[in-house]
């Protein structure tokens, strides 16, 4: 490898390392790996894909980002109060990614993501009440208390989870794209992962399949700079950026500023067009930042990075603040409206928590439901029952004993 593109000075680009990288940039030509750093929100606003947004739609997008932030804040309080079990992976700081990308989707476009799922779930239109109830382990939860914080699904909204194992959802998303192509539909699948997932074998197998078979899938790396507590430079080998690995498979790729909604929309739109019109995959690396730890249980969130880094993000790069400024400048939003939106989002999150609190836990017998289609639908079709005889359950804990 040769040339300035591969100089060591910009080898490890962190979202938090903006100044260093800019200072050491040698070329006037911005290379693709750094494209995201130099986006001009006013130029982006002029793009057709952003111009086409009506005032109402813009307010809706802003509102959704605020709703995610408040939902996550409320979830954290419930978690700290011991109402939510297990892990809680919060999306605060990354809101523009889910909202921006999902705002472009049509009837035959699909979404699948990992365990940091609440932002995508709200962006696709899931109701926060059953989401919160799911985290509380309640029967009114979106999965009746069977999935929890990491596993939320809404097939009626083309939303396929919510998956717990790093990178494991990427072959699934590739399969959703395969099915769309098989069925002759003009659609695509957005398959999200974190920057840590990029080193999983399953991700590379999926990359190869998508490129080999020209599948309409968009692999979205939400690069929040840390795979749990390990920074990129300690976990990933790369010359310029993670998305560049797409080149090994002959896939198109780009980098995106995840703090600027307009940039998320602009570059995702290009990828969606490629998927819809040419049935070709894309890798997008969206630089973003999570304010909280990997999960709430990640007590070291402030040990592997400085407090200043977090404060710098909140003060200067926060996607919601930046969008509010932009929309106020455009005359789409007023400070007063923004406050109303925030208040309503808070209320919605509180109502979700109240709903969750008041909801019942699932009955013990429900442990056995939803494992097999054929068991859940017993008695509906004698032909299917005939083909599914015998014992399916080998221990019921006595929950059916009178």
């Amino acid at each position: 490898m040769s040339g300035e593109k591969y100089t060591t000075s910009n080898r490890f680009i962190h979202p938090n390392d903006h100044r260093t990288v800019t200072a050491k940039k040698k070329s006037k030509t911005i290379n693709k790996a750094e494209r995201w750093q130099d986006v001009d929100v006013h130029e982006l606003a002029q793009l057709e894909i952003n111009q086409r947004l009506s005032t109402d739609e813009k307010v809706r997008l802003y509102t959704d980002m605020v709703r995610i932030r408040r939902f996550e804040g409320r979830s954290l309080r419930s978690y700290q109060a011991g109402k939510i079990g297990g892990f809680l992976h919060l999306y605060e700081g990354q809101e523009a990614v889910a909202v921006g990308t999902i705002s472009l989707l049509g009837a035959d476009d699909h979404v699948i993501t990992a365990y940091r799922v609440h932002g995508h779930a709200i962006a696709v239109g899931m109701d926060p009440k059953p989401m919160m109830a799911e985290m509380y382990g309640k029967y009114t939860g979106c999965a009746k208390g069977k999935g929890g914080s990491m596993h939320m699904f809404a097939p009626d909204k083309n939303f396929w989870g919510g998956h717990g194992i790093v990178g494991g959802q990427i072959p699934l998303g590739t399969g959703l794209a395969f099915a769309l192509k098989y069925q002759g539909k003009k659609g695509c699948c957005l398959a999200y992962m974190g920057d840590g997932a990029i080193n999983q074998g399953a991700v590379h197998e999926a990359y190869n399949l998508a490129a080999l078979w020209n599948l309409p899938v968009i692999f979205i790396i939400e690069n929040n700079a840390y795979s749990m507590g390990t920074s990129q430079e300690r976990s990933s080998a790369f010359p310029d950026c993670l998305a560049q690995r797409a080149e090994a498979y002959g896939m198109e790729w780009d980098t995106v500023n995840g703090n600027i909604l307009y940039d998320v929309r602009a570059k995702t739109y290009e990828a969606i067009k490629r998927a819809h019109d040419e049935s070709r995959p894309t890798v997008l690396e969206i630089f973003t930042y999570r304010y909280r730890g990997h999960s709430v249980a990640d007590a070291n969130a402030e040990k592997y990075r400085s407090k200043d880094e977090i404060i710098d993000y909140k003060d200067n790069k926060d996607p919601i603040t930046l969008l509010r400024k932009q929309f106020i400048e455009e005359g789409v939003l007023t400070e007063e409206q923004a406050k109303e939106i925030d208040k309503a989002a808070n209320e919605e999150a509180n109502e979700a928590a109240e709903f969750a609190e008041k909801s019942p836990f699932p009955p013990a017998e429900s442990i056995l439901d939803d494992s097999y289609w054929s068991s859940d639908n017993k008695g509906q079709d004698p032909e299917i029952d005939e083909l599914n005889q015998g014992r399916f359950v080998f221990e019921d804990g006595g929950i059916f004993d009178k």
Partner: protein, 324 residues
């Protein structure tokens, strides 16, 4: 009734279901242009083309995951493992996504996928290629596991599996692929969870799954001929669901059981069956439930020794005589 090979029976099932349902496709390594590593799919690519027979690169996790994703949107993929031994590199896809996605979504989605291929030892390919993971897979609620022991069952169970709305893992046997059985020309389906009584008997129950059922039948012949023992032979056909009713009825009749499998013994299928029998038919037992399985070491390569490692009729007879 025509005699056809186990291989042909599986192929006929695939061809009939591909023709019947446009959502059915077969994917795996060498399944299309190469005609199948074990020729199970021979001629299907010529007949049905690229869309329905898809050659996958050597990426079991990738293509099995892809199949599961595709099944969520209503396709009915039939994924071939060249050997079930290769499932280990796809475990997360098979046993997290395949088995649990429906459950974790609260029943909102279905995974109507079939994963099939041979799962057997006995071909001198060493430990890595001789796995029998039916017990491992059946340990995951959400998965159905079938182990056809003959051509008739292979066809009928395969068709049932493809039409089923849950993930079904079909474990075949390369040792059986070339053997012939009578298979009717007219269409039939075989239920999962319905054992097949290969031979009625009154003195002892030899219960088995997969190829071990055939070995058990051979052992029953020896028991009758040499020892005047009338053994009942039951082929479970499917591990999960499990035909507990037929097992218990047989125990109540014979009061003696040997469970035979080519799997390793620890946490094997026989352990589960023995547990059920002692729990639900204890008073009907005149002897402990005995088990015959592969000898408990990684599968050995050496030809004569691998023959010893896998249960044969003599070992079954010997074990049966211990309790008769």
């Amino acid at each position: 009734m025509p005699l056809i090979t186990y291989r042909q029976a599986v192929k006929d099932a695939l061809a009939e279901e591909i023709a019947r349902d446009p959502n059915v496709f077969v994917m795996g390594e060498e399944v299309a242009q190469y005609n199948g590593a074990y020729k199970v799919t021979e001629g299907l690519w010529d007949k049905f083309g690229d869309k329905r027979l898809v050659d996958a690169p050597i990426s079991e996790a990738g293509f099995v995951g892809l199949g599961i994703g595709a099944s969520m949107l209503g396709l009915r993929p039939v994924m071939e493992f060249m050997f079930w031994s290769f499932c280990y590199v796809a475990f997360d896809q098979l046993l997290n996504n395949g088995s649990f996605c429906r459950y974790m979504s609260g029943g909102l989605m279905n995974i109507p996928i079939v994963v099939r291929g041979p799962a057997n030892g006995g071909t001198n390919v060493g430990a890595t290629h001789s796995h029998t993971p039916e017990n491992l897979c059946a340990n995951h609620p959400g998965i159905k596991v079938v182990c056809p022991s003959n051509a008739y069952d292979a066809k009928g169970l395969m068709k049932t599996a493809i039409r089923d709305n849950d993930p079904v893992f079909v474990m075949e046997s390369t040792v059986l692929y070339g053997q012939k059985w009578e298979v009717p020309e007219e269409e039939y389906l075989i239920p999962m969870g319905k054992a097949n009584i290969l031979k009625e008997g009154k003195d002892i129950s030899l219960i088995a799954h997969g190829r071990a059922a055939i070995t058990s039948l051979e052992a029953a012949g020896i028991l009758a001929e040499k020892y005047d023992i009338d053994a009942e032979v039951i082929d479970l056909r499917s591990i999960r669901p499990l035909d507990v009713e037929t097992i218990l009825a047989s125990v109540k009749k014979t009061n003696r059981v040997v469970y035979i499998e080519e799997n390793k013994p620890f946490c094997g299928v026989g352990a589960q069956i023995a547990s059920i029998i002692q729990d639900e038919a204890f008073d009907h037992l005149d002897a402990p439930v005995k088990r015959v399985s592969a000898i408990d070491a990684p599968q050995i390569y050496s030809m004569p020794l691998e023959k010893i490692q896998i249960p044969d009729a003599a070992r079954i007879v010997k074990k049966a005589l211990e309790i008769c």
